[in-house]
């Protein structure tokens, strides 16, 4: 029998009304890479944070190397040889790499000696694991990929034998993710134990030895990776069979609903973000805007939605102009049939401190349905929210719960339900499934296609090329603020990739 590095017995944890972990049992074998998958909000981060002593379990036991240990705080976890790379990095942004690595492991009261030692040790780790990073660089000046490297170095510096990584690839480019996996393989070959949390099935299949699946706070299964399949894991995660691709019929485009003409947008520093963009969006079609993040898609969406002023150009909604260069009013646009699902739901789409039902009517609160004279009709609002919750399968089904306590996928459903259910003529959606789990992705995609089939015009911006290709009837590719090409959805990934990188587009524009 192999050695067990970590064993969790009966771990239970609630955050107020949210039961995040329910009687969890888990065994992780020494020297393996153990994957933990589950939808967003399944309780993966919570479980690992308990193992790391960041949260305290309400009940349950933790065994390290077969011996029960009381992990009351991260210090105890570090002492037990556990290191963790958190989903949201725990770095001090205006400190150097070296200072971040040292923090909490400084050795002596006066920094000087510790600094010298840390420098030497860091060099050694860098060489050993090919984890180069300039020790004197400020964290805020490093790209996220390197920031994550610092987090890994922090754990190794503390001599972790068991390394937990929480959704490490979410912030990485494919090449960076490959490099990370090589590092993990190397750590494993040195006998370290790795727990890898992700919701990406492909990664689990590629690198793990064993995989445990969590669903709604419960540990539902553990499988040997070699003996399972993507389909089985997806089903375990969601609790039912999922379609990993979307089915949709022919589009039947109708009249032009949204006409964008020569739209140009500059950012606060005067840099052109959207450069003379023109296109038409018709009823009954989905137009996808593909592009690497930061090529003007966000600004384009915001300008159309009336929350960012354009410097020139025009936009017509249902044939009537929107004052995009002046004072376009999002509330008025909403009344005219334009619904907007913003990219950044936390800051723009929701007030996280509000109850679910309050967010469910945000921006529509002056709708007569929700009013009693000048007062809000709370009963009507809650009733409506409950209906929405049932239709969109928002969990937990509690309209009084603070929105911050919903998982990302469910928060997104709250926004979608709000914007879709008014029957808008034009729906513009930014990153519909960012941070959303497999089950909810399927649901959201279906809903978007349903909207199209009802004859709505849908403008979709996403950095997930797969999503764009699956949903769109036409694809516009943006690069450096310009639309550099239009393609059918059956264009190959390679072809779109070249456009997105700005290689093909320049040629096309020149011709």
């Amino acid at each position: 029998m192999d050695n067990i590095a970590i064993e969790l017995r009966g771990i239970d944890k609630s955050f107020g009304p949210v039961h995040a972990n329910k009687n969890i049992n888990l065994k992780v074998r020494k020297g393996t890479i153990h994957g933990i998958i589950g939808e967003n909000g399944a309780g993966k981060s919570t479980l690992m944070s308990i193992l790391y002593g960041f949260y305290q379990a309400d009940s349950g036991e933790i065994l390290v190397d077969g011996k029960p240990v009381a992990i009351r705080d991260p210090n105890a976890a570090i002492a037990a040889g556990i290191g963790m790379v958190h989903q949201h990095f725990m770095l001090v942004e205006n400190f150097t790499v070296l200072e971040n690595v040292m923090l909490g492991a400084e050795d002596s009261q006066i920094l000087n000696k510790g600094i010298a030692k840390a420098r030497v040790e860091l060099k050694r780790l860098e060489r050993e694991y090919a984890l180069e990073v300039n020790p004197d660089a400020l964290i805020e000046e490093l790209p996220v990929g390197l920031q994550q490297r610092v987090e890994i170095l922090k754990a190794l510096y503390r001599r972790a034998d068991i390394l937990i990584l929480d959704e490490p690839t979410g912030v990485l480019t494919p090449a960076e993710a490959d490099h990370l996996f090589r590092v993990l393989e190397q750590l494993k070959s040195q006998g370290k134990t790795i727990i890898l949390i992700t919701h990406k099935l492909r990664e689990i299949m590629a690198i793990t030895d064993e995989v445990s699946v969590m669903r709604r706070g419960e540990m539902v299964a553990t499988r040997t990776t070699a003996e399972t399949s993507v389909e089985e894991l997806a089903e375990l995660m969601v609790g039912r069979r999922v379609l990993l691709r979307v089915e949709k019929g022919e589009a039947k485009p109708g009249e032009v609903k949204l006409a964008v003409e020569g739209l140009t947008v500059k950012d606060g520093r005067g840099v052109t973000m959207v450069d003379n963009v023109s296109f038409n969006l018709r009823a009954g079609e989905i137009v996808g805007i593909a592009g690497v993040a930061g090529n003007g898609q966000s600004e384009l969406l915001e300008a159309i939605a009336g929350i960012r002023r354009a410097v020139s150009g025009s936009v017509h909604l249902n044939g009537k102009p929107i004052d995009v260069t002046g004072h376009a009013d999002p509330a008025e646009l909403r009344d005219r049939g334009l619904a907007h699902v913003p990219e950044d739901r936390h800051h723009v789409g929701l007030v996280l401190k509000f109850e679910e039902c309050e967010n469910a009517i945000l921006g529509y609160h002056h709708d007569k349905r929700y009013l009693n004279g000048v007062f809000l009709n709370i009963d009507a609002i809650r009733e409506d929210a409950e209906k929405r919750i049932a239709e969109y399968d928002i969990r937990p089904p509690n309209p009084r719960l603070k929105t911050a306590n919903f998982s990302g996928g469910n928060q997104q459903k709250i926004v979608l339900a709000r914007e879709m259910e008014r029957g808008p003529d034009v729906l513009i959606i930014g990153q519909p499934t960012r941070g959303v789990d497999v089950g909810a992705i399927e649901f959201i995609h279906k809903r978007i296609i349903e909207m199209r089939d009802q004859g709505k015009a849908v403008l979709l911006v996403s950095v997930e090329l797969d999503e764009i290709r699956a949903l769109s009837d036409r694809i516009l590719v943006m690069f450096a603020g310009r639309v550099v090409g239009e393609r059918d959805p059956d264009a190959t990934e390679g072809e779109l990739g070249l456009l997105m990188a700005g290689v093909e587009g320049r040629k096309e524009a020149a011709e």
Binding site: H88, L91, E93, L103, E106
Partner: protein, 323 residues
Amino acid sequence: MDFFHVIVVLLESTIRVSVPLIFAALAGLFTERAGVFDIGLEGKMLGAAFAAGAVAAVTQSVWMGLLAAILISIALSLVHGYASITQRGNQIVSGVAINFIVAGSTVILGEAWFRQGGRTPALGEGSRFQTITFPFADSVREIPILGPIYSDLLSGHFLLTYVAFAMVPISWWILYRTRFGLRLRAVGENPGAVDTAGISVIWLRYRAVICCGILCGFAGAYLSLAMTAGFVKGMTAGKGYIALAALIFAKWRPFNIMLACLLFGFLDALAIRLQGNPLPLIGQVPVQLMQALPYILTVILLAGFIGKAIPPKAGGVPYVKER
């Protein structure tokens, strides 16, 4: 009086009025760098000044007075700490509350104990700080330029004045060269990083708040045991707020703090000097304008005209792990 002499006198009084500002601003530096905003510097300083005046009057010992000032100021800091760190209350509200409580209770207690209209009894020689005269200060005064600078500007201040200026590099050293300082700055930027590194956020912030208490104690003691001989009600007269402005103006950096406090102190000294002395060409400068200048300068800074003041990222936000 020749021009040079005027300058020396002006700078000498600049130093005198800057001392409590330096102490208080450095006090604010310690808590704010740890992420606990403190608008209660004023109240702590006032409480400390009262404690110093009262205890020194009763015990006839300047040292007991200083000790009392520090203890009271620490106690008030702990109240602020309990409200904002342990109970995760609003830091501004807690600070303002302390200011009001102290402003009222010093008068009530002073009146109850000493019956002098909120004052503490005037302190005699032994129960207050004396100025320190450097060796040969008298004999070198006649040397041009260097003489007056040595004898009038550098020599002849209170012990606490020298302590205040020494605290500037000491604070810098603590913040940037010690483990405590590294952790303190980290907890003001991202308490999560400190927590996951195995350090107690709560204890660390309490220690920062205690440092603030000690320094505010010095500031208060300086007011009632050195600058004047005894406590007078409301004697801080907004110095805590000026110190806060200096802290922001200095972008939360020790040496900048000293310069900002000297600048604000200079404006204060100048205002006193110009009272009733119209300037050639410009005429009478309203005192109110001079007194408002520190705040005006700080607002201009905050508006982004003089660089940018970036406060500690986690400042003012209680550390909450579980929503």
